[in-house]
Symmetry: C2
Subunit: 201 residues, 2 copies
């Protein structure tokens, strides 16, 4: 049983709205209508929009860590891990309707509380580190070709993924995401199949 159904519903609605419209693009009134409570009642759960955005990033970071851990547990090779992450970003793009929360918040950085900005930076660092490991593994197991500097490759890949989401969003065209990342995916060898995928409940 979650802490509070309403609180979780508010976070869901807010995350959705933030990733679609940006931080300045949604209001408490929108959330209220979406969740089905009155606008003022939101303040009972989140006293300010800054606190809401903070909780949003906290949840997003922790759930993304889970995703990474899940990928690590499900796939063996660096290439398979990276492929799984790319798939995750593609799904997160939701056919060009959304951005990664990190990208959405980065764009409206100057409207955010300083703590949230720190969280964004932390999020990027976490994902970047994870991708670095994937590249290192991919280099040693041969599943990613042409790896010279894993850390740089990771930084570049992360920017590419967010840029690809941006491109897909502009055109409402999921194919734009695929096109942007093709060069990256082509470097991943599919010789070694992933180990059994753990089913999600």
């Amino acid at each position: 049983m979650p802490t509070s159904d309403t609180k979780e519903a508010l976070l869901d609605s807010a995350e959705n709205a933030a990733r679609r419209f940006g931080f300045d693009g949604f209001s408490y009134a929108d959330l209220a209508q979406d969740v089905g409570i009155r606008k003022a009642s939101i303040h009972h759960h989140f006293p300010s929009k800054a606190k809401l955005s903070l909780a949003l990033m906290e949840r997003y970071l922790s759930s993304f860590k889970d995703v990474c851990a899940d990928i690590d547990a499900s796939y063996a090779t660096g290439g398979a891990k990276l492929t799984a992450l790319i798939e995750r970003y593609k799904a997160g793009s939701d056919n060009g309707q959304q951005l990664c929360l990190c990208a959405a918040f980065s764009a409206s950085r100057d409207s955010l509380a300083p703590e949230v900005v720190s969280q964004i930076i932390g999020f990027r660092a976490m994902v970047s580190d994870w991708i670095t490991e994937a590249f290192e593994k991919g280099r040693s197991d041969g599943s990613i070709c042409g790896v010279t500097n894993p850390s740089l490759e990771a930084t570049s890949a992360l920017s590419l993924l967010e840029g690809a989401q941006l491109a897909a969003r502009a055109a409402s065209e999921p194919a734009a995401f695929d096109a942007a990342i093709t060069l990256l995916t082509m470097r991943i060898s599919l010789r070694e199949p992933p180990i059994t995928r753990i089913e999600q409940p």
Copy 2:
């Protein structure tokens, strides 16, 4: 003499604000204070915010075409052209304080007038085509290595550039831009120096 000093000043201010805060992040009141006229007077030049954003993208597209033409006139090799464009995107990032207007508008797509969305798509297509040509030239003159599919490379490069701006913006760290694009720049051979750079007035 420009059409109108005030009109141009409004566009300057609006472009700056849009690239810093996004479409939903600035208001007529902000522009009025910045330019030094009253809020209502803006409507004399731009009857609605939608019209303003339209004019903004029009000017941005045309000025970016000029930039591309200027680069074409100033640099010979594909690698030099691409380098110049990258420099342009880096300058446009303004030490992580701004985004390309196209990227900023892409993020807040759902708040925009449909015509503006079309302009964004057109802008991306234009830049993508230009980069494609640069890659083709770079392949034939040997100034960019490893080029297999210029069109795909261009799509990828554009997403990378916008993603790099996003990364630099999140951290207010210009070095993040450089890190993200290093892999791309490393592919550009500097054997052939650019021809004489035409001075801007």
